[in-house]
Symmetry: C2
């Protein structure tokens, strides 16, 4: 297996980061990785938003996040752990991650409110 690619943040175009996080599945996974203190192994994400995801799909998503410089994947024995590179990203693009994640949470809350309102109307 080829070694995993972990680019330096300066070499990652901002567009690649935005693209990586523009996918709802990836944004959810990434929010999870950042949120957890401990790093996560892949299998943690086999369920995203009540939807089962095949492990190959998952692996692709994680690859995109990794090659956007957002996470680091470390192999420990059989499994590999994914941890956020937010310190590095913050150093180069201050507040970027925090702001996007905040927007993500805002949206989750907004969506929940909408669902509630829709139910009330029925």
């Amino acid at each position: 297996m080829r070694p995993l690619i972990h680019p330096a943040i300066q070499d990652v175009p901002i567009g690649a980061i935005l693209h990586a996080l523009s996918d709802p599945v990836r944004l959810t996974i990434y929010a999870d990785i950042v949120g957890q203190e401990r790093s996560q192994n892949c299998s943690t994400f086999l369920q995203v938003q009540d939807k089962a995801i095949p492990k190959s799909t998952l692996s692709q998503h994680i690859k995109v996040l990794r090659e956007a410089g957002l996470i680091r994947s470390e192999r420990r024995g059989v499994e590999s752990f994914n941890l956020s590179r937010s310190v590095e990203v913050d150093a180069h693009y201050p507040l970027l991650i925090a702001t996007i994640l905040r927007a993500h949470h805002t949206q989750l809350a907004t969506d929940a409110a909408k669902t509630k309102k829709a139910k009330r109307k029925r």
Copy 2:
């Protein structure tokens, strides 16, 4: 011509915003619109980064920005002016725009430095 679509910010998924700004051409155009106090007509952007862009392509990019809730297009006579909706976006997703634009500028600076260094090596 159909009326232009200007969604409410709450109805725009964060992914749509990130996707709209993940394209380098669009990010450049958007940065320009936000940067200018006065709104811009389309023809302003016929040149982006030393590259000529056909009007129709430009129109598409502006449409994506508009439907991501990022800009407002107003027709005045024959032409249409584009202005940033940053106040509205800020209200819903605080700091999002400023942070992304800052990252964009950082990247421009970094790239310039790289080019300079590459030239020095020759």
